[in-house]
Symmetry: C2
Subunit: 621 residues, 2 copies
């Protein structure tokens, strides 16, 4: 912290060049609370060229609000400060004294942004789960309910029992999704442990969101420097960039220098929950020597990060000494960083994991700040041929046991999952998690369905992510094209997020999440109507869609043309369809045509059953 | 054809700059036939740095064979010429006289490459299905069998009944995949109509391949100029580029000028089957006015293209007059170009489709050249909310009826499918096709699982493609990032193919195709061993993988480093795993650890069953 900041004197906002341009034809709107009237839940309203408006879930925070004044040196405005204070169960305190090693050995950046921390008063438990179990609907819970519903101006259509909606009805795969999310429903889900609202009391800037299988499927993006490359400035802009494109949560996986300060900047500027893997920093503090880790150092790191406002901690407490042997026959052993650190510690000391042994001590810290557990899958498979093996399921079983312990303390908990799982094994993996972990939210990395796509693992894993999301996973951790190869840059982060927004939305549509298909329908209608601008603006990435269209047909006139470059003006099928419709309207297609067809279908059905009037009891080959 | 060629005098090969560089660490090898000793089936052998060799399926043709001399002005060397002539059932004939309109109104290119055509002798039927049904194993069938098996040096492992293989055993979803593909198996599948070998007798350059649910899942790439952009030179290089990255089939969807000549260049230089949609050219011939189409013009176009060597025709004969009404309530009507052309024709004339009415006349042409049907889905859904609707299934039903008719003539047949289908409706769509079309191979476009991803529809559709491939689809038609927006360029074609290679391979792994996982295992082993070069070279796209690694760690030393940029040297989990293994080997982890764990798991299982020693007969909630 002593070396001079080479950018001292420059306005930080300029250096960062935060991406703040609003989405095209969009404006930020806020839904007011009803139980809590100071609630303002953000949505993005897209205005179409035909005057309609489509409202979409918005994770981008104040950065896309043209009205918001943002100074990254001060951090975002408080959203939750009043609610937290209003509960009367927290107190300011001096906080842990900074240590020389907090930022690693080579710190050279501006001072941290840390505010005086809060913690629960003695004997208090400040978790959302604790409130929920006492029947309290918190502002966070109402916020989440309003956010999940969005502006359901279109809902009537999707809840109607028309032929179309019956045909398209989702298959919720055991989820229990109500037509409207009420604050009480959110409370009940949190109380039961089936959903979490990661919301550290030291993260007042947070716009609350829920992770649970009865809510929209969420995605997480990882950012973080490393020992090899990257800088703090890049990390904050990566956060802004990631949430712009739809990351619901962000994990800060920094491992290099300035690890503490980087985290300060990120949390203070984050409207989304921030997760970390505290063992990474703890390991830094012991010079990277896993066997030198101690409970004291780890505990101190948890408090350090809880005071900063981290919303969830990945903790690999399920990897036990006895599990390690189970990985001996694996093709790729232990691929989780945290898992391998703990495995090494257990092996060298030949002792049970201190994370497992101190699990209830950890719960005490979690509940003093409302940090949620993301119980790490240290033994997740690192390749297809290690999928669903004894090592993974043994650890998962322990995670289920720890979930019960965490819930005893009313600590919110989700479970991390693989990794690499071929398609035909995904359902079994999901079923094992639901059963073993008592429906605590599942949070999976992919899974990757094949191993041979380095450079395209965002796609190989989006396939698995979409499927497992449909089957019950609550949050999907993204994978970028650089997975297995290098650190993602700005474009890689966006590519990874896009692939995962697609997977999550595909899951929502398949589950039949109310209203999920509304945006698809609006976009398809725009496509059919040749409303090109609306088609772009309703998409997940208007910039790229518009750019691709420009590459083939750059003229502005083409944006209103009733054809596109794929068929050209003569062949356009949609144009011909319109002509067919007009022609039919003019001339009137005989009703009998359709009736005739119906009869033919019935006749063919009859033939298929062997020409007999009754299907025989013994099937004929 | 009269305007001067601006490149006259330049060597064509130079102008085209065909991509001929072999894949890294790879060489082309050929598996000899046993029944037919002149058979040479190509595979690509990848040599690893540890001396092992991995052999992979190779669709790239002679272009990646450093030994092959290729002159695009003459076309590729004949592969099948001797086999076709040897059957004694074909004859040369003058062929159809070229017409002025064959190349459209504005031809301006070099002369076509066409050779004197062959056709079946009077009364003969030269389809692979006809031979198969008479019990004849053709060279094409042995070729396909050898190609599907590849070099199964690894097969023993995957066919063994080890614990690992039992755990990972695929779920074939009703497919019937033998451990080894024999020529007789191929014959039986073709005879039964469950597989096709698209192989026009006028396409001797073809390296035969099979499309069927009991074979590897194949992919198709579309190329083609259009009225708006593109040139012939680009089209041939697009073919070479597409098969390099793994396209098993290519459809030439050209609609613009020089349509006939472009096709000549493509077929003569294609080692893969080429498909077309003849109605596109027929429509050009009538100036783009759908209602001016006649059976005579369409028939002439079929013969024109059959003489050129096109291997399969998309024919929208299943769209009947009476179906059109069923699209009235759709959100996006008819989105198939061929479908909309036929719908317009039917409406204007208020008559049954001439394709439907002349279907057996078409069969007569198909069997004289062995052109396969790809029965078009003119009523495929164009958006999620039109999926699996009455219009689509009514047409599918007609396609099943036409399949029976085609099979009566021993004409090989596959069925085209959607399109846009949310995940939860894919299985029903596949089931309907299998039932209705008597297991004729399904050939689907995607399907796209959501509509809101313009710019990323290769990903939105790869999810659906992987799933439907697993469930029984035999060939997946790719979608590029430009879908719905513009014409794909070189990079878009590659992106689309990569997404679909991933989908097809994920399907093969899930189905448990013998040996499919071998390449994944080899790559994952290389990853674990820090054999970076092998990891790149075993991937679907070595260039991109290497490039991504270079972006973060450009030094050559990093290619042998025992860490990567993601964790850096201190944290590498794989490195730690190795240390754990070494440590365990040195010190010896007590056997009892694992035993203890096993007992714990058993105890927990016991608890799960209510603490009773026997699971009660009546399940307890």
């Amino acid at each position: 912290m002593n070396a001079p900041d080479p950018h001292a004197g420059e306005p930080f906002a300029e250096r960062l060049a935060l991406t703040r341009v609003p989405f095209p034809a969009s404006c930020k709107a806020y839904i007011p609370g009803q139980l809590y009237t100071d609630l303002r839940v953000p949505v993005r309203d897209i205005t179409l060229t035909n005057g309609e408006q489509v409202s979409v879930y918005d994770s981008s925070g104040p950065y896309t609000d043209a009205q918001a004044v943002i100074d990254v040196r001060r951090g975002l405005a408080s959203v939750r400060g009043g609610w937290i204070a209003g509960r009367g169960d927290v107190e300011h305190y001096a906080g842990r004294a900074p240590l020389a090693g907090d930022d690693g050995p080579k710190s050279a950046e501006a001072a941290a942004l840390q505010r005086p921390p809060l913690r629960a008063k003695a004997g208090a438990n400040v978790t959302q789960m604790h409130y929920a179990r006492r029947g309290i609907v918190t502002p966070e819970m109402e916020y989440v309910a309003l956010r999940e519903n969005g502006k359901r101006e279109w809902m009537a259509q999707y809840l109607a029992d028309t032929d179309r909606e019956q045909r398209l009805r989702g298959n919720a795969m055991g989820a229990d999704i109500p037509k409207t999310i009420t604050p009480e429903f959110v409370r009940a889900e949190v109380a039961r442990g089936r959903a979490i609202i990661p919301a550290n009391i030291n993260h007042p800037e947070l716009e609350p969101m829920a992770i649970g299988r009865n809510f929209r499927v969420k995605i997480n993006a990882n950012i973080g420097n490393s020992a090899v490359t990257s800088s703090i400035e890049e990390e904050v802009e990566k956060l802004v960039w990631a949430i712009r494109w739809g990351a619901d949560n962000v994990m800060d996986l920094s491992t290099g220098r300035n690890i503490h300060t980087t985290r300060d900047w990120i949390v203070r500027n984050a409207p989304v929950p921030i997760g970390t893997v505290p063992i990474y920093q703890a390991l830094e503090k012991v010079g990277g020597v896993a066997e030198d880790l101690t409970w004291a150092i780890f505990r101190d790191t948890l408090i350090e990060q809880a005071e900063q406002g981290v919303d969830y901690f990945t903790i690999h407490a399920g990897l036990r000494l006895a599990h390690i042997q189970l990985t001996a026959g694996r093709r790729t052993g232990i691929v989780s960083r945290g898992g391998s650190i703990m495995a090494k510690w257990c092996m060298v000391h030949h002792r049970e994991s201190f994370l497992y042994q101190h699990f209830e001590d950890i719960c005490e810290i979690m509940k003093a700040y409302d940090v949620s557990f993301s119980l790490g899958d240290g033994l997740r498979p690192g390749c297809a041929s290690d999928a669903n093996d004894q090592a993974q399921f043994a650890e998962l079983h322990t995670l289920g046991e720890l979930t019960r312990l965490a819930w005893k303390h009313d600590v919110q908990t989700m479970i991390e999952g693989p990794g690499h799982v071929p398609m035909h094994m995904i359902e079994a993996n999901m079923a094992e998690q639901l059963k073993t972990c008592h429906e605590a939210p599942f949070y999976t990395l992919g899974p990757l369905t094949i191993d041979i796509a380095p450079g395209y693992d965002h796609i190989a894993s989006a396939i698995g992510a979409a499927m497992i999301g449909w089957m019950g996973t609550a949050m999907l951790c993204y994978v970028t094209p650089k997975e297995h190869l290098g650190l993602p840059n700005r474009d890689d982060v966006k590519q990874g997020i896009m692939a995962y927004k697609i997977a999550a939305h595909a899951a929502d549509v398949a589950k039949g999440h109310p209203g999920a298909r509304a945006r698809d329908d609006a976009l398809s209608q725009a496509r059919f109507d040749f409303r090109w601008q609306d088609q772009f603006n309703l998409g997940l990435d208007p910039d790229t869609a518009r750019d691709y269209h420009d590459q083939t047909l750059p003229k502005d006139a083409a944006k209103v043309a009733h054809f596109c470059s794929m068929c050209g003006p003569k062949f356009c099928s949609m144009k011909i369809t319109r002509e067919v419709r007009d022609f039919a309207a003019q001339r009137g297609l005989a009703e009998t045509d359709a009736q005739t067809l119906g009869l033919e279908l019935k006749a063919a059905e009859f033939q298929r059953h062997g020409g007999r009037l009754y299907v025989p009891v013994t099937p004929v080959e």
